[in-house]
Each structure stands twice: as structure tokens, then as C-alpha cells.
């Protein structure tokens, strides 16, 4: 096959190339550079020249080298076989790269994203002759033991007649499994494989209101600052404050059907950790391995910076594809700051005018475009699915006033701010209860109240109120010491301190504590509020606070997150009973 030459290299400045003698290059076209065939993308066309971003290390590219066009935009392959795979930023399977080039990644390699030779058990769900439309499910394939991969009509075929469909059996993703007759009479053969350009959102029928929370199993999130399915959240925090751990925990325990985890410009070992740990972890809801619902993208900090820029889009396109099949997908991007910095670096090399701190002026638009791809959607097929985005932000110096954090804040509706002080004192997750917020409270209120006998909303307000009071009391204590406060107020400090250690803190490394069910969260909050109420009553009767806090049941409460297993929740009821009884007892002594 003769390759199409679209121009020749004129200048190489790191990952940014200027190409001259441009023939018919298309904007956003994927290209190959030189005889090594390094992957690149056309990002600008002007005056017979083009600017090309290279997705691999540019060493050795030389003025005069040919640039070959591929005739299509930078796209991803979509089809069975994505789940459980780890990709680089432009969807090259890392395990295949390792087979080809060993432990270190060579350049110019290209591999199919999914195995084209593997056979899948295909079951049609529709009969030949039916009229079909974009997004419609025509067959299903068991991709993993928990994911039924639904084969859908690609969005570009608005309506058609299904003239043929393959019978049940095993097929590769290259085998023709259906034939469409398009309205203009043309025939179109379909395989199980689709391609989609990464920078283009996949179409949906409509956006729906958000109603369900994305349950994460992290107490501070679910109970205090919930995220809705289809929602967006930013997790900003300085280094070492717990962004990655929080995202790992959510990837492990949240109730999404599919997880897309993007390691964007972060550490190699963290991806290795996920690869090693996820297959061993078992989903508390289905009892199956977590890897059976996870797609990983690893474009670590030492891998090429342009591919880092692309990795975010590669990830979200795969997420949308599963959403179109009617799944709830959660996507984690760690960290969006590294993606923004990649934009900055590329923009700098293209000699564009910088705006704030060297970032290009289009940074806010790009951030908005990314987060807008989240949502709870009515798909083209009529089914519902969602994409929720959880983006980490790494502000320089941990200072939230920098451009990426500020712009991200404009486009997300939930904010989990990590606090350096909390992290240093090993209060994990270090999510600040003062800086964080969720705008989804009213959206998920109904769901939560249905799952807590109507108590969640009210209880949440009560504990948030105590936490606010605590701030003011702490200021007084800092000035004059705790002795200056009456016991009734000191008791607020006491309850808040207990709430922090017994409820807000959650140890991601503890077998029991790392996942907390909705039921357990509800009970834990309720027993802590009961402690406040009962304790206050007793103190008002004259019981000294020290007597209350020394009670055995209080010690038990402090450890219940670690000691009470998911299936022994009645233990918390017992603690509550014992607590109330013993407070009543000492109260009784003082009443007379």
C-alpha cells in the first residue's frame, strides 16, 4: 500500500513540529513521522505549513523527514476487550508494548487496542429485517463475568434496516456480524469494532436530571459531600495530601458499573500498584474481582507530554462508549493539573500568547469541554447511563488560588478540598469539612432519605452545625484555654473530636474500615448524634463531662469503624443502647 505523504518536517522543537510542503493534511489528522513512524496529530494548518504534536519522544526526527497521513482523526478503538486492559495515553496496550520491546518502551510501535484475533461469544438480540437506529443494541457479548458488552449501531448510522445479523456463535471483532441497508440503499457491513475520534463527545438523546448518588463507601464523601451519578467533582490538594488514595478508594468501592482510571502524568509505581491490587480485590456488591470492571490508562510523568494531553480524551471516550450501552461509568483523572501543564508546554512550544501563569488563554474552555462530557444521559438507544468525572487537581504550593483550581471550580459542582494540616496529622482522608461542598445535596436528598428512614438530611445538618460551632469554640480555646468554657460547650468540642476520629477518618489500608456501606454510615452518624443529645442532657443535670467521656461505650464508639464488620451492623445498635443506658445511669445519680 502506498503511503500518503502530507508534508515534510521543517523544524523540531521537542514534541512540537513544523511541517512544510503541506498537501492535503486535515486538521486533527493522525499522522506518522519519519521512517520510525512516530505517532503525531495535526493541530494547526497555515500558509502551506502545519503544526504537529508528536506523541512519542522526538529524538532523532530530522528536518526533511516525511510525514505520512492516516486519513482520520486521532481515534480510539471501541469493542469487547477493553475491560481489564492497561493503555498508554493514545490507547496502545502496554502489555503488548512490553511483549514487543521489553521493560522499557520503544518508539514507533503500534498495536490494536483490543485483540483482533480473540473470539467472543456473540448473541444477537434482534432479528434480521428489523429497522434499527443509531445506538440501538443488536447483540450482546460476555466481556467479563460482570460486564455484558452490548453491541450497538454506531452513532453515524441514524437509521437503517438490518438486512443480516450473524447467528449466535464465536466471532472476532473483525468478523462481520451484521449488515445494514442505509436509507440511500448502500450496504454497510458491521463488525463488533467501532472507531471514534477522541476529541468529539459521543452523541446522546438527552440529558437527564441527576437523582442518584454515586455511593463511594467513603463516609466523609457520602454522608457530608455526596457526588451524584453523572456529576463532576474536583479533588484539589498539595502533594501527599491524598488525592490518589481517595481516587483509588473510589475506583475500588464505588457503585459504578465501569471504572476508567487515568493516571495522567503521575507515578509509574502507582499504576503498578493498581495493576497488582485490583485483580485481588473483590467488589462487595458482586463478589467479583474489581479488574473485571476497570479500564486503566497510564501515561506516567516520564512518558511523552503530548500523549498525556490526549490521555484524558482517550479515557472519556471509552467511558462514553460504555455509557451508551446503558452503564454507569465513573472516570478518575489523576491529575488534571498535569494535563493542563501539558497544554501549557505544547502551547509554549507553539509560541502562542500565554494568559495566566503561562497557561494558554483557552485553558478554561478546554476544562469546561472535558467536564461537560459528564452527565446522566438518555442514550440514543433509549436506555439510561451516566458518566461521572472525579478529577484530581495538583495546585502548585498547595495554593487553591492558582488558575487550574480556580477554573476547574467554575465547571464542577462538587469540591473535596484536601487540607495539608489534616494530612500532616494523619487525619485521612484529609478532606476538609470546612472548604468542601457539594451542590448535589438536594438532588440526592430523596435517595438518601429513602435509605436512612428519612434521617440523613436532618442528621447531616445537625452534625455540620456542630462542626461550625466547633470552629468558633476552638478560637476561644486557643486564646484562653479549655477551662474557660462551660462543660456544655466543651462537650461540643468533645463530640466533634470524636466525630473526626470515629467517623470522618477512614483508613484505606484497614480491611474493615476501607469500605463503609450506606447502612453503616447511617447508623454510625446516628449513634454519635445520640451521644451528643444524651450527653448534653446529663451534663445539664450536673454530670461532669469527664464522667461522660470515660464511659466504656464511648471507647467502643471511637473504634466501631474498625471493629464492626459490614454484616454485623446490629453491634452499633447495641453500642447505642449501652451508651444511652449508661448515660441515663450516671444522670440518675446526679438528678437527686
Amino acid at each position: 500500500m502506498k503511503e500518503r505523504i502530507i508534508g515534510r518536517v521543517k523544524r523540531v522543537n521537542g514534541p512540537v513540529l513544523i511541517i512544510k510542503d503541506i498537501t492535503d493534511a486535515m486538521m486533527m489528522e493522525m499522522v506518522r513521522i519519519g521512517e520510525q513512524h512516530l505517532v503525531g496529530e495535526v493541530v494547526k494548518l497555515y500558509d502551506g505549513l502545519a503544526t504537529v504534536q508528536v506523541y512519542e519522544d522526538a529524538t532523532g526526527i530530522c528536518p526533511g523527514d516525511n510525514v505520512y497521513g492516516s486519513g482520520m482523526s486521532l481515534s480510539v478503538e471501541l469493542g469487547p476487550g477493553l475491560i481489564g486492559t492497561i493503555y498508554d495515553g493514545i490507547q496502545r496496550p502496554l502489555e503488548k508494548l512490553m511483549e514487543a520491546s521489553g521493560a522499557f518502551i520503544s518508539r514507533g510501535l503500534s498495536y490494536d487496542a483490543v485483540d483482533h484475533g480473540k473470539k467472543w461469544e456473540f448473541t444477537p438480540v434482534i432479528e434480521a429485517g428489523a429497522s434499527v437506529h443509531a445506538g440501538m443494541v443488536i447483540a450482546s457479548v460476555e466481556e467479563t463475568s460482570r460486564v455484558q458488552h452490548r453491541i450497538i449501531i454506531p452513532p453515524q448510522y441514524q437509521s437503517a434496516t438490518l438486512s443480516e445479523i450473524a447467528p449466535s456463535g464465536s466471532y472476532t471483532v473483525e468478523d462481520v456480524i451484521a449488515t445494514l441497508v442505509l436509507p440511500d440503499g448502500r450496504q454497510q457491513k458491521l463488525t463488533m469494532l467501532q472507531k471514534w475520534p477522541i476529541r468529539l463527545p459521543r452523541p446522546v438523546s438527552s440529558r437527564l436530571a441527576l437523582k442518584q448518588p454515586l455511593v463511594t463507601g467513603l463516609r466523609v464523601i457520602d454522608t457530608l459531600f455526596p457526588l451524584a451519578k453523572g456529576g463532576t467533582v474536583a479533588i484539589p490538594g498539595g502533594f501527599g495530601t491524598g488525592k490518589t488514595m481517595t481516587q483509588h478508594s473510589i475506583a475500588q468501592w464505588c457503585d459504578a458499573d465501569i471504572i476508567v482510571y487515568i493516571g495522567c502524568g503521575e507515578r509509574g509505581n502507582e499504576m503498578t500498584d493498581v495493576l497488582r491490587e485490583f485483580p485481588l480485590l473483590v467488589d462487595p456488591r458482586t463478589g467479583q474481582s474489581l479488574m473485571e470492571r476497570t479500564i486503566l490508562i497510564a501515561n506516567t510523568s516520564n512518558m511523552p507530554v503530548s500523549a498525556r494531553e490526549a490521555s484524558i480524551y482517550t479515557g472519556i471516550t471509552m467511558a462514553e462508549y460504555y455509557r451508551d450501552q446503558g452503564y454507569h461509568v465513573a472516570i478518575m483523572a489523576d491529575s488534571t493539573s498535569r494535563w493542563a501543564e501539558a497544554l501549557r508546554e505544547l502551547s509554549g512550544r507553539m509560541e502562542e500568547m500565554p494568559a495566566e501563569e503561562g497557561f494558554p488563554a483557552y485553558l478554561p474552555t478546554r476544562i469546561a469541554q472535558f467536564y461537560e462530557r459528564a452527565g446522566y444521559m438518555r442514550n440514543l438507544s433509549g436506555s439510561d447511563g451516566s458518566v461521572s468525572i472525579i478529577g484530581a487537581v495538583s495546585p502548585p504550593g498547595g495554593d487553591f488560588s492558582e488558575p487550574v483550581t480556580q477554573h476547574t471550580k467554575r465547571f464542577v459542582r462538587c469540591f473535596w478540598g484536601l487540607d495539608r494540616q489534616l494530612a500532616s496529622s494523619r487525619h485521612y482522608p484529609a478532606i476538609s469539612w470546612l472548604d468542601s461542598y457539594s451542590e448535589y445535596l438536594s438532588d440526592v436528598k430523596q435517595w438518601w432519605n429513602d435509605h436512612s428512614e428519612g434521617a440523613w438530611h436532618e442528621n447531616r445538618l445537625r452534625i455540620m452545625d456542630l462542626l461550625q460551632k466547633e470552629v468558633r469554640l476552638q478560637q476561644i480555646v486557643k486564646l484562653v484555654g479549655p477551662d474557660a468554657l462551660p462543660d456544655t460547650q466543651n462537650f461540643i468540642l468533645e463530640v466533634c473530636s470524636l466525630f473526626k476520629t470515629a467517623f470522618l477518618q477512614q483508613n484505606a489500608f484497614d480491611e474493615v474500615d476501607r469500605y463503609c456501606s450506606v447502612e453503616k454510615q447511617v447508623k454510625m452518624l446516628s449513634v454519635i448524634l445520640a451521644y451528643y443529645e444524651k450527653g448534653l442532657e446529663a451534663i445539664n443535670k450536673g454530670v461532669p463531662m469527664v464522667k461522660v467521656r470515660r464511659l466504656r461505650a464511648v471507647q467502643e464508639m471511637a473504634r466501631m469503624r474498625l471493629t464492626v464488620k459490614g454484616d454485623e451492623l446490629e453491634t452499633i445498635d447495641k453500642i447505642q443502647l449501652r451508651l444511652e443506658r449508661s448515660i441515663d445511669q450516671i444522670g440518675g445519680i446526679y438528678e437527686n
Binding site: I5, R11, V12, G14, K20, D21, T23, E35, D57, A58, T59, G60, C62, P63, N66, I86, E95, L97, M98, S101, G102, A103, F104, I105, G238, G240, G263, G265, R267, G268, N269, T272, L275, A298, T300, S301, N302, M303, V305, E341, R344, E345, G348, E357, G358, P396, G397, G398, S424, S425, V477, K478, L479, V480, G481, D483, F509, Q555, A558, R559
Partner: protein
């Protein structure tokens, strides 16, 4: 329009042309030399620069186009002239010939002999810029390194294959600590083939001498490769020194199966040299004038550590950097902290109070600690004990603040106990001698002794069984 065969021909032409010498630069600016009218030169190519008096220097192509090639010269551009500068483009990337014989040698930032004992011989040519390790090929590091230093072993445990920087400041004892770690570090129960690669960037001669002496005294000098680019060497050489050092380290670890400890000091000087080049080229700076790609650039250094599955060796990195003005939010420590697997943070106040090592464990962190401690690795009580010490010590800081307002006498008995605990923790647990090598058991027992100053109800991070076994003994 050229066809593919023409382009292939051009490639072979280039092979023929490589090595040909061009004379006459069009511009010299700091460490950069601009050359026009050359054959097409590849990005990143190795360049041999010939000075007017015929001496050779090494350089690398930073930018290449039809019109002009920009070359950075690692030994600096001193005494180069426009007409008298010659260049040979070698048609290959910058490589370093490596061998085990480099252990025991003192070299410059480019791996050339600096110790007067003749040329350094290498056999395998390796790309100095390194190639990223495939994340699927990595093996997650989990072997505990006993450094014999309590606050590190107990609170921010070092793991074989980790990158754990020391954030220090001018005049603090970081060199002593690095040397002590190099002397004492061991993986218990394994007689690994251990060696050290040491890279100095822009540090003074006496610092280099301090390390050489310290290696000599312990008799390990034969097992150390030193790459020195000192304060009076050209600043640009610092930008290549850590890469040269890591190229050797990778060879020793992944080809020769050695456990390599890489000490790099001072990373702040490295970053400053990068800033110089960036400014020279008129790049748009980000924070404090440092280039926008500083994060990626540092990552290309720090990520060259770890373990590869199926291979015996490992690279453990111990970079040292000084925080300008003791400011941890300065771009160099900040970006480093975002890349490395934790950090060891020095505090000037602690050194002033006579505590060595002056490590404040609260902002310090070892991210790989979780998988390397506990039963079968250190001791089963280690994870909870470390947690408890962190929690209690962070409360000490609150109490100290309160005490400074209301006076120590006004504190509750409990808070006074906390002060006592804090005192013991700093003076006995953290503080130790330059030559004191404590076993992990000694360290953990000391930790329990510190907790003995607190009532047992305060120890909520520990289980009842752990308290019963260790508390108050």
C-alpha cells in the same frame, strides 16, 4: 514531493554526512551555540564541539530546523569564537559507555575521568536520557531498608526501589544524614549486591570531599561511582549529571542485578541551570522563572528508579535539595514532592535545639511504607504504632501552641503529659548519634517507651492486644 525511497536515501545520506565537521557558528549565547547551513540534523543528536584550539566538548541538539540548529554545550562555551567553533553532528543520541569498572572511579558530569587514573572504560552504550519503564513491567517495591535511624525506619520507612528526597536548607545536616544512610542501609536477611552512585551538581569541593572521605572510611569507595560537577564547573554540565549517573545506575541495577543507591545533591542547583537555559532561549516561564516543563523534566529523572519484575536489581533514589528560604512551597521542593514517593523534611528549629537528624516527621512521608512494614517485614505492631506516634505527636504541636499562650502551668494534666511525651519523642526517639545504628526493634521499643508517657485511653490507634503486649513495659 519526495517519495519514500528518496526519504530513505536522505536517511542514508545523513549517515554519511554525520561526523562531518562544520566551521563557524552564527551565534553564541550562554551555553547555546547556533549553527547555520548544516545538513539536516536530528533532534537530540549528540554533537562534538571543536574549540578554536582543537579541544573537544560534548553537546546536544535542542532545536533543529531547515535554517538553524541550536546546540547546548555541556562543558560551557568559554573561549569559543564565532568563526573558530567547529561542530560534528554524530547522527545518534547522547550515549554513555557504561561498565562495572566505573565503580570506584571519580568522573565529571559526562562520565569522563576526573581522578587522574586514566580513561574510564565502558562497554555498553546507553542513551543518557533514558527510556520510560513500562508500568506493567515494574515490580511494586516492598522490601524494607533498615537505615538504623529511628525516625526514618519507624515513621517514614525507606523501601528498596523508592525515590525519597531530603528537603533541607542551607547549613543543615543533610550531608551527614545521606552519608549515614549510605553507611548503614541494609535489607535484613539478604546479602544483596550493594553499590552507590553519587551525583553532585553545583556543590562545593568540601561537600564532595566530605562524601569521598566518608565512603573511604567505611571502605566502600570501591563500590561507589562518583559523578562530580562542582560549583566552579560550567553550570550547564549540571543539567546532564543526574542523567549520566542514572544511566550507569540503570545498567548496574537492571543488567547487573545490583541494589543501587543513588544520592543526588543538590537538585535545586540542577533546576537553576535548567532555568538559565530556558531564559536564554526566551521561553515563557511559569512560577519563579522556572520553565513550564520543569515537572516533566524532573519526572524523567526521578522515575528512573524502582524495580523491574523478573530482574534482581533495584534503584533507590535519595535526592537532596535545599529549599530556598526554607520554603517548602518553592517550585523545586513542590514539584519534587509531586513526583517522588514521599519526602523527608528537615526543620531548622530542631537542629537549633540540638536534635540530629533534624527531621520533622509530620510533613515527612513515605508512601511506600504501607507495604513494607508490619508482620513478617518489620514487626506486627509497627503500622499502628507509627500511626499512633503521628497522631500523638501532632497533638503535641497543638498543646505547645496553647502553652505558649496560657503558660505551661495552666495546662491540664493530660496536656502536660503530652508535652512530656513530645519531649521524649524528640530527644530520645528522633535524636541519635551520627554513628548510632539502631535496629528496627530498638526503634519500635523506643516508640512504645515514648507512648508510655501517655495514659492508655489516649492510644486509640492501637488495638487492645497491642497495648496489652507492649504498653508500659
Amino acid at each position: 514531493m519526495k517519495t519514500k525511497t528518496e526519504s530513505l536515501m536522505a536517511q542514508s545520506d545523513r549517515k554519511l554526512l554525520s561526523g562531518r565537521e562544520y566551521r563557524g557558528a552564527s551565534r553564541i549565547d550562554g551555553p547555546l551555540v547556533y549553527m547555520r547551513n548544516t545538513h539536516p540534523v536530528g533532534f537530540g543528536e549528540l554533537v562534538e564541539v571543536v574549540t578554536p584550539d582543537g579541544a573537544r566538548r560534548s553537546g546536544q541538539v535542542l532545536d533543529t530546523s531547515d535554517e538553524v540548529v541550536v546546540v547546548q554545550v555541556f562543558e560551557g562555551t568559554d573561549s569559543l569564537t564565532l568563526p573558530g567553533t567547529g561542530m560534528r553532528f554524530m547522527g545518534e543520541p547522547l550515549t554513555l559507555p557504561v561498565s562495572e569498572q566505573m565503580l570506584g572511579r571519580v568522573m565529571d558530569g559526562l562520565g569522563k575521568s576526573r581522578d587522574g587514573s586514566g580513561a574510564v572504560h565502558g562497554f555498553a552504550e546507553r542513551d543518557v536520557n533514558g527510556v520510560p519503564i513500562n508500568p506493567t513491567a515494574r515490580e511494586y517495591p516492598r522490601d524494607f531498608i533498615q537505615t538504623g535511624i529511628s525516625v526514618i525506619d519507624g515513621m517514614t520507612t525507606l523501601i528498596q526501589g523508592q525515590k525519597l528526597p531530603i528537603f533541607s536548607g542551607n547549613g543543615l545536616d543533610h550531608n551527614q544524614l545521606a552519608a549515614q544512610i549510605a553507611r548503614q542501609a541494609k535489607v535484613r536477611g539478604s546479602e544483596g549486591d550493594f553499590c552507590i552512585v553519587f551525583a553532585a551538581m553545583g556543590v562545593k569541593h568540601d561537600v564532595a570531599r566530605f562524601f569521598t572521605n566518608s565512603f573511604e572510611e567505611t571502605g566502600v569507595l570501591d563500590n561507589v561511582a562518583l559523578f562530580l560537577s562542582l560549583a566552579d564547573d560550567p553550570s550547564i554540565e549540571r543539567t546532564i549529571t543526574p542523567k549520566t549517573a542514572l544511566t550507569l545506575a540503570e545498567y548496574l541495577a537492571f543488567d547487573k542485578g545490583k541494589q543501587v543507591l543513588v544520592i543526588m545533591t543538590d537538585m535545586t542547583n540542577y533546576c537553576e541551570s535548567l532555568r538559565e537555559i530556558g531564559t536564554m532561549r526566551g521561553e515563557i516561564p511559569s512560577r519563579k522563572g522556572y520553565p513550564g516543563y520543569l515537572y516533566s523534566n524532573l519526572a524523567e529523572i526521578y522515575e528512573r528508579s524502582g524495580k523491574i519484575s523478573g530482574r534482581a536489581g533495584s534503584i533507590t533514589q535519595l535526592p537532596i535539595l535545599s529549599m530556598p528560604n526554607d520554603d517548602i512551597s518553592h517550585p523545586v521542593p513542590d514539584l519534587t514532592g509531586y513526583i517522588t514517593e514521599g519526602q523527608i523534611v528537615f526543620e531548622r528549629g530542631m537542629q537549633a535545639r540540638g536534635i540530629y537528624p533534624p527531621i520533622n516527621c509530620l510533613p515527612s512521608l513515605s508512601r511506600l511504607m504501607k507495604d513494607g512494614i508490619g508482620e513478617g517485614m518489620t514487626r506486627d505492631d509497627h503500622p499502628h504504632l507509627a500511626n499512633q506516634l503521628f497522631a500523638s505527636y501532632s497533638h503535641v504541636k497543638d498543646v505547645q501552641n496553647l502553652a505558649s499562650v496560657i503558660g505551661e502551668e495552666e495546662l491540664t494534666t493530660l496536656d502536660q503529659q503530652y508535652l512530656e511525651f513530645g519531649n521524649f519523642f524528640e530527644k530520645r526517639f528522633v535524636n541519635q548519634g551520627f554513628d548510632e545504628d539502631r535496629s528496627i526493634e530498638q526503634t519500635l521499643d523506643l516508640g512504645w517507651e515514648a507512648l508510655g508517657k501517655l495514659p492508655s485511653e489516649e492510644l486509640q490507634r492501637l488495638s487492645d492486644e497491642e497495648i496489652a503486649e507492649h504498653y508500659g513495659r
